[in-house]
């Protein structure tokens, strides 16, 4: 690629943490600007160009009719669209509310619900074609770099989807499930964090979403055996990725 690829960064229903993770690339931020041309990023720029983009990074899920329209517009103007982070992939934490009747949620927060136009929170893939996903809440900044470098080299990025347990082993950690009977989501969760939580003395909560082909049912059985109630098992699966087909069943239909 001779010309610098044009990049757009967009926010939908989410917390801006994924965008912030990009700003946390302090060490290489200036070098990064040498290889990509960020033409749309409202959180950082006042003058934004309305596409087209070689790559668009979408942060956040889709939760209003207006957002559905917007994401479709962006899709039309993007060569590659990346679901950047769990919200854009499957709604993340806010998707917990999808199990509550919408009116009930609205009534808890607003007195006049007639001006609120929210729907269930969905990943962007529900409405548009997604070319790549960067998992995590937030995705690690290095995975973003890996993705950018790979697209410049025109290859598939190396983003392995194996479980956190693999990274846990790389770090010589004791397994929390087998040694302390702590309900760890590691065995069904996609790696990418470097086994952050188990290495810091706490269980993986699943913030990178499901790994490739996880055996969620078996992990739910294990949780039951170590004493978790059905509701707690559901809470665990209905957190970052309850809407994914991989976890849907264990999250409670």
């Amino acid at each position: 690629m001779n010309k610098k690829p044009t990049v757009g960064i967009f926010k939908f229903t989410g917390c801006a943490g994924c965008q912030l993770e990009l700003l946390h690339l302090e060490d290489v931020f200036l070098d990064l600007l040498k290889i990509i041309d960020i033409t749309y990023w409202v959180m950082v720029k006042r003058e934004n160009i309305e596409g087209p983009w070689d790559i668009s990074f979408i942060e956040g899920g889709i939760s209003t009719p207006q957002e559905i329209e917007e994401i479709k517009q962006i899709r039309k103007k993007s060569k590659i669209m990346v679901a950047f982070g769990d919200c854009a992939i499957a709604g993340c934490i806010p998707s917990i509310r999808n199990w509550i009747p919408q009116m009930e949620s609205e009534n808890k927060v607003y007195t006049d619900t007639s001006v609120i136009h929210s729907t269930k929170v969905m990943g962007i893939g529900e409405y548009v074609k997604v070319d790549a996903v960067l998992k995590g809440c937030p995705p690690h900044r290095d995975t973003f770099l890996e993705f950018i470098k790979a697209s410049l080299l025109q290859i598939r990025p190396r983003l392995r989807q194996h479980p956190v347990c693999v990274e846990c082993k790389y770090r010589d950690n004791e397994c929390l499930i087998t040694s302390k009977k702590i309900p760890c989501m590691g065995p069904v969760t996609s790696a990418g964090c470097g086994a952050l939580c188990p290495s810091l003395g706490r269980e993986c909560e699943g913030c990178f979403g499901p790994m490739s082909n996880p055996n969620a049912a078996a992990l739910a059985d294990i949780f039951k055996e170590i004493g978790l109630h059905q509701e707690d098992i559901e809470r665990k699966f209905r957190k970052y990725a309850g809407m994914t087909i991989e976890f849907r069943k264990e999250a409670g239909q």
Binding site: K11, F12, T13, G14, C15, A16, G17, C18, Q19, L20, E21, L23, H24, E26, D27, L30, L33, I38, V42, M43, V44, K45, R46, E47, N48, E50, S63, T64, E67, E70, Q73, I74, C92, I93, P94, I96, R97, W99, S105, E106, K108, V109, Y110, D112, V115, I116, S118, C137, P138, C193, L196, C197, S199, L200, G201, R202, E205, C207, R235, K239
Partner: protein, 433 residues
């Protein structure tokens, strides 16, 4: 995603209509809709927050108390630490748990690191381009590489500390109910201590930069609120206090502060009951707690030539710079007194109860409260982030600001209004949550 447009509506009264459909360089999605009559009267003014709400207060109900820190962290990617600590303290207040001194200190360190990171982001990345005349931080790099590099260094310092203490810069993981799951090694702390000491020059330069940049001369006296503590510069703990005599315990918050819905905004508007809107944030903090600032921060503030207490919202930038300096000083103090003991995992006995907490997020006072049942399940959650506190006050400031610049061009008014919004450094996702 809509373009910024300015429309001239030459209606009968020659009204100036100012519209910003997506305010740039702030977190989240907000808009401005303003119309000003020919004789300079503001006819209509809306700081329209259209960020879709995520209904945290609804779906937190039914979740475990231990999850509050993790879930509410996802309200905001810029100030996850503030949400985590507030959630933890509210939950601990509900179950009657007092964390150890070390935990309290580590939390403060975590909060200070978040302040450094967030303030640097706000000052240098989001607002400085306005003050120096660039469209963005990126564009600024061409002519002010040293300033940009300094900003990146300072921001990295904040991140690095959050990373080391919390495990991760965005949505950290180690702070849990009653303790930290892992305590960083002495070596790591010594390494950050060194970085902190080295960063002081950058922080002083920052104070100098923001005392010298030109800001709009605009003053509007209003109620300023922050938590206060006689012993230290209050961030995680203190009484909720204002310059107009409010002084309450965090558990009494709802007796004094209420919210109401504005039909055009998904963020609720706060006000002091029987009184008016108010301001929270770095400026109220510096105004109210000036005496608790570190010696060097106080000195730098005095040297700046700007008088405190100060009621020009644009002085918030300088207040942030002063706080960054203070945060560095206090972080060093904390590191020097930390015993760094591993703390065991105590069995926590859960019981039904109500707990509330107010802390100072980088953008201002943040309130969480939870009602727990006997099994530790949340039955009611009430969250008020700083930008919900400020939303109404921003409009009031803007009203008066336009009043004094109404003969300027629409472009100019628009720009000044945006600048005002950015001076508040609103976190819109937080405000709607």
């Amino acid at each position: 995603m809509t373009e910024k447009t300015i429309t001239y509506k030459n209606s009968k009264q020659d009204t100036k209509t100012i519209e910003v459909n997506y305010i740039a360089r702030v977190e989240g999605r907000g808009a401005l809709n303003i119309s000003v009559t020919k004789d300079g009267k503001v006819q209509d003014l809306r700081f329209r927050i259209y960020e879709p709400p995520r209904f945290f207060e609804a779906f937190l109900v039914g979740r475990r108390y231990t999850e509050m820190m993790e879930l509410t962290s996802r309200i905001c990617g810029i100030c996850p630490v503030a949400h985590q600590i507030t959630a933890l303290r509210a939950v601990e207040n509900a179950i009657g748990l007092e964390p150890s001194e070390q935990t309290t200190d580590l939390r403060k360190l975590l909060a200070l690191s978040a302040h450094i990171q967030s303030h640097v982001l706000s000052m240098y990345f989001l607002s400085l381009p306005d003050l120096l005349g660039y469209e963005s931080f990126i564009a600024m790099a061409k002519d002010h590489l040293d300033v940009v590099k300094r900003a990146l260094r300072l921001k990295k310092l904040g991140n690095d500390i959050t990373d080391i203490v919390g495990g991760r810069a965005v949505h950290p993981v180690t702070a849990v109910v009653g303790r930290f799951t892992a305590i960083p090694s002495k070596n790591k702390f010594q390494a950050i201590r060194k970085e902190l000491v080295n960063a002081k020059k950058d922080a002083l330069d920052t104070v100098e930069l923001f005392s010298n940049v030109e800001i709009p001369q605009f003053v509007r006296k209003c109620e300023h609120i922050a938590i206060s503590d006689p012993k230290s510069y209050a961030i995680n703990n203190g009484r909720f206090r204002s310059n107009e005599g409010l002084i309450i315990h965090e558990s009494e918050y709802r007796d004094y502060i209420s919210e109401k819905q504005a039909p055009y905004s998904t963020a609720l508007h706060s006000h002091v009951k029987t009184r008016d809107s108010f301001m929270v944030g770095p400026l109220p903090r510096v105004n109210l707690n000036f005496e608790q600032l570190s010696a060097d921060a106080k000195e730098a503030a005095k040297q700046s030539g700007v008088k405190f207490p100060n009621f020009n919202p644009f002085v918030s930038h300088l207040a942030r710079a002063i706080e960054v300096l203070h945060s560095i000083d206090e972080s060093i103090d904390i590191i020097d007194r930390l015993p760094l003991k591993e703390e065991g995992n105590h069995e926590i006995v859960c019981r039904a109860g109500f707990g509330a907490a107010i802390t100072e997020a980088p953008r201002g006072s943040l309130y969480h409260s939870y009602q727990l049942d006997n099994n530790g399940i949340v039955r009611k959650a009430d969250l008020v982030p700083p930008t919900a506190h400020n939303a109404n006050n921003i409009e009031k400031d803007m009203h008066d600001l336009i009043g004094i610049i109404s003969d300027a061009t629409i472009e100019e008014i628009k720009f000044k209004c945006e600048m005002l919004v950015r001076a508040y450094d609103p976190c819109i996702s937080c405000s709607t949550h």
